[in-house]
Subunit: 236 residues, 4 copies
């Protein structure tokens, strides 16, 4: 496994070198997939792929193409994978398909779930400079019993409309502001005395211990998960 | 396992006898749960429980309480479990909670997914005579980090609103009629010559073979899965 | 779903009628499979299939072909499926392949796990009159990277040897007797006063209540799960 | 999520600083766990944790405690997690418990599976300098129905014996050498002309293209998966 990964890294480095040599300006993308056809594939999920890129000095040369159905197969939600890519500055493109939570293989269905589409779009909107030059692929296929020509049109229209509804929902959520405000409040202690000290990398254990003894048992504010879910669903 | 099941059946029969003796008119309910705390529990899902009831002559004495989160744990959707109970005339009550498709234990969350709520309500509306004397329990608890008193209100309001939106969506779908019409068309061959013969239990292999040879390769109409999903999502 | 199941039952009844008409003496088998290619297939697992057979009066006409890999996909172990079939007198044949517990589709691998093979063989040995006229299929295929002709021989030899080791382990377990004795002790209360009364279907709630009040809190004997596992593994 | 991870990294850095300040020589360990009690925990698996350590410059300061049951919950096998830690020089300790492949929560059972124990021991034996100063914890508890005092002894003896059998099996596999030879042969092309060039990071696309055109379609040697499984199982 060690040798295979080193081999793969050298091969990808050769691809980077070749890209530079021929003056190609496109983005190189890796698409994580946990398994199928083999088991324990090396690019299991975004975090595993980012770990690989860091180890072999390839960060900066590759971005990630997140496929939503692959997220399901790796035990994550698509939103989790998108956020993992986004906060590490490696979100490059999205295959906006969907699978089935009770099915363990890649079904590549057209996305029609508005809740999922809203979460996907919220990652895109938050991504610095959006997705360009990347974008969305459907990477979806008709169910095998859908045999009419018009089914192809229906599926694509339905998929596009779902993404559009997702984008409009995100706009609504941003304009309303309640959900962002909830998150801001949840993390406001990060901006106070001790929080800010830790943020700045200056929180040593002696100081933390002194403060903890001085302040006693903290009041734990509510996480307000149900309120967050209600605010989110109300926008759909 | 055989002996334990027989023992259990005898115990449940004693419960039925006792109910009759004391003149209790309530419905006896069994709530399927695949596992937790043990593995391979005997009431894995609705079909398994119905199999048990049939084997021991208890059909008619027990109805099912479907818990949506247990459906997830047994590898089914809640809608699948509700429909399995409904078509076998044993749907008695619903625990309208929800779990997480990526989590393998019972989280008993409040339901906020409108799509799920719409599917649940469609089973209730189709159930002969509705659910009475049964109904809905939330059977949900706050996330452990939700520590404010108001969180209890928020969660219940959010859960009720979700069910209400589900019911309104079902009404919209019924009034519109397109989805029902799609299903009707999909099964219309069941009403024609051969279909009707099979429906009536009169389709023998000789006749079927003769017809197949006479008619040649059939034209397979499209299943129109994507159209069905689009019609469903458009109502949400 | 109701109509499709009725249709299917009528079709299977026609198969039974045809079998009798032409004087065919073989066993008709149904092989449960939870999903793939579709989702929520009607013969999800043994219990679901037995439920279907009972509802439509087909018990006695069909036996089950348990495929081990399908057991995994339905969230069960192969042993659980075999036992469910055995105690309902419908175990007819076994596809002794295996899948991967971390993989969600049918991989149809050759069985090489001795522990699994021992459990499978213990169900066969306990089955009244064994499996005849049924038996074992491998229903397994080589991994796609196994391209030598000799791989076919290796896989089949390995599969057969594994089943043989399983059978020898079961013989060892039976001769030793410790595991059977553990199970006997675990259920010996079923043979005593109250246990026997429930076994005979004569345990009414008044008597049970009286006895419970009379006897007080029972001493719960240990389930001895770890001892059972140690005895089992020691035989391998 | 970004801010929380940065916060966590700063906190762990403070722990490292404190360790150095007080002259503590022990190894700092992180134990990956995918979920439970929350979802999407930040230390999902070994690869995710290694990605985090690399990003925040903490590699070298932390090693990993791999818990086998957590491996199952993250969709991996324990062996995969151990190997991922080993090849990245971060394997520090092992919680040698086990879970159930069909159960989605942490059951912390004593390990009795010899095949699993053999795979675990093979990672330990291959780990440079073994595991010291780390080692094995059972991190297992009795099933809740195991209520005898002797059950505690039985479980620990059974767990230790299983690990010992695993170690003896690994010794047998190494002495026999067939499995290692199979792996060596599988990768021997990595030592030849082109393979060695890629290994050395000197394989550029022009050279690779030239060689591919010169040599034509390669003969693909068999992966011999079934032979590998047979050799492995024969040692148990």
């Amino acid at each position: 496994m060690k040798r295979e990964l080193e081999h793969l890294a050298n091969f990808l480095q050769a691809a980077v070198n070749h890209k530079k040599k021929i003056g190609f300006n496109g983005t190189l993308l890796i698409e994580p997939k946990p398994q199928e056809p083999t088991k324990h594939q090396y690019d299991w999920d975004v975090a595993t792929t980012f770990s690989f890129l860091q180890k072999f000095g390839l960060t900066g040369e590759f971005k990630i193409n997140v496929e939503c159905n692959h997220a399901t197969l790796s035990g994550h939600s698509c939103h989790h994978e998108l956020e993992t890519a986004r906060i590490n500055d490696i979100l490059g493109n999205i295959d906006a398909n969907t699978g089935d939570p009770q099915v363990g293989w890649d079904t590549d269905e057209f996305l029609t779930d508005i809740s999922e589409a809203t979460l996907i779009m919220s990652s895109v909107v938050k991504n610095v400079d959006g997705l360009a030059p990347g974008g969305f692929n459907f990477d979806a296929k008709l169910r095998r019993e859908s045999t009419d020509v018009e089914d192809l049109f229906i599926a694509h229209i339905s998929g596009m409309d779902t993404m559009a509804r997702g984008l409009r929902n995100v706009a609504k959520l941003i304009e309303d502001g309640s959900l962002d405000e909830l998150v801001r409040k949840r993390y406001q202690s990060f901006d106070t005395e001790i929080g800010a000290m830790i943020e700045a990398g200056k929180g040593d254990f002696e100081t933390l211990e002194k403060k903890v003894l001085e302040w006693g048992e903290p009041t734990v504010p509510s996480g307000k998960q149900e309120l967050a879910e209600m605010l989110f669903q109300s926008a759909l």
